[in-house]
């Protein structure tokens, strides 16, 4: 289970496949996820109609995503190690463009090495 941190409408997704890899995914790797839980924007943001309009994805959708945070420690080239409290991803379409237009929280800096600069520019903070 990975958290989805963009505003595509998904809150929690489950990874079903790591692409181009025969092992676990790291930050910047492309995965296929199934959306498990939708994000509800609270009562003040509108009724059920607006929720469905805001959500670009639904529960049960199979989507591509990019891992942006891992709870597993990752050692960088300079010897420092970074570890987040959760696993998180950002949904993308088949072409690699992020589905959401905004992102909620910090992402790993390894995205830059893997050419996900668009996600980096959307993120409020990268580490």
């Amino acid at each position: 289970m990975v958290n989805v941190i963009d505003n595509s409408g998904a809150a929690v997704a489950e990874c079903v496949k790591v692409l181009k890899m025969k092992r676990h995914a790291r930050i910047g790797d492309r995965i296929i996820v199934v959306v498990q839980k939708q994000r509800n924007f609270g009562p003040e943001s509108g009724g059920a109609v607006s929720v469905s309009a805001a959500n670009k994805v639904r529960r049960g959708d199979i989507r591509h995503a990019v891992v942006v945070r891992t709870a597993k420690k990752y050692q960088r080239k300079d010897g420092s190690v970074v570890k987040f409290d959760d696993n998180a991803c950002v949904l993308i379409n088949k072409g690699g463009e992020p589905i959401g237009s905004r992102m909620g929280s910090v992402v790993g800096r390894e995205l830059r090495d893997k050419r996900w600069s668009k996600i980096l520019s959307l993120a409020p903070m990268h580490l």
Binding site: S80, K83, F84, D85, V106
Partner: protein, 239 residues
């Protein structure tokens, strides 16, 4: 062999000749049986001389003649005189390069009463990259002082982030103590602070206040990591 003079016993010399012949053959057979048929029974070495005494032979300590001589290699020269403690020497040479003025060593030396300890809020400035600050959960020294690393924990955008930094890394520009824990932590590793009920949360506010205070202060800010232990004195002097 047969002599014509003994005509009375014509077969006499023949008998003698036969006897000799038999004796010779017997002698020959004895030789043949011991030599050719059973070579293993043959003595390897010539029999001892008549005046041979075994006790004296042992005293002489003779080697067997067929044995190869084993070469004796002298032990290598001891390196103790060249370098008494090579690991210590290597560590020193690394420290002179990575920590020329010894400030970083002093900041984490156990002998220093004002050293950085688990529970303190530390601020790490990097040469390339943004600075990181957080609560120090653990100080790890694995085999050599050069391996010393610190584990900092913070919350960025309400997500817990932990980072290990090598203290002597050339990428680390400075390590500064922002705030000390009021009471000394009773554990060496404060991993319990990962649990939500013990988590201190974001320390960004504390660090920002400290940075503001520092920038408003005097010029001695730059070499702060060297004498961060005198932080309180500095503050007092400034005000």
């Amino acid at each position: 062999m047969a002599t014509p003079s003994r005509s009375l016993r014509p077969l006499g010399p023949l008998k003698q000749a036969l006897r000799r012949c038999r004796a010779e053959r017997q002698q020959q057979r004895r030789h043949a049986s011991t030599e050719a048929l059973y070579p293993s029974l043959q003595p390897r070495y010539p029999p001892p001389s008549p005046g041979f005494r075994p006790s004296q032979a042992i005293k002489q300590n003779r080697f067997e003649e067929g044995m190869r001589k084993i070469p004796v290699i002298p032990p290598p020269r001891s390196t103790i005189k060249a370098c008494r403690d090579p690991i210590q020497a290597v560590t020193q040479s690394q420290l002179t390069v990575l920590d020329p003025n010894g400030a970083r060593t002093r900041l984490f030396a156990p002998s220093n009463p004002d050293r950085a300890q688990p529970g303190d809020i530390l601020h790490v400035r990097l040469r390339n990259g943004e600075p990181f600050s957080g609560v120090c959960l653990s100080i790890r020294q694995r085999h050599q002082p050069i391996d010393t690393a610190i584990l900092l924990r913070n919350q960025l955008t309400r997500i817990g982030v932990e980072m290990w930094f090598k203290v002597y890394s050339p990428n680390v520009e400075a390590i500064e103590v922002v705030q000390r824990k009021e009471k000394r932590a009773r554990r060496a590793n404060l991993y319990y602070m990962r649990q939500s009920r013990h988590d201190v949360g974001s320390v960004e506010g504390v660090v920002r206040g400290w940075l503001r205070q520092k920038s408003g202060g005097n010029v001695r800010v730059k070499g702060r990591d060297a004498n961060s232990s005198k932080k309180k004195n500095n503050k007092r002097g400034r005000n």
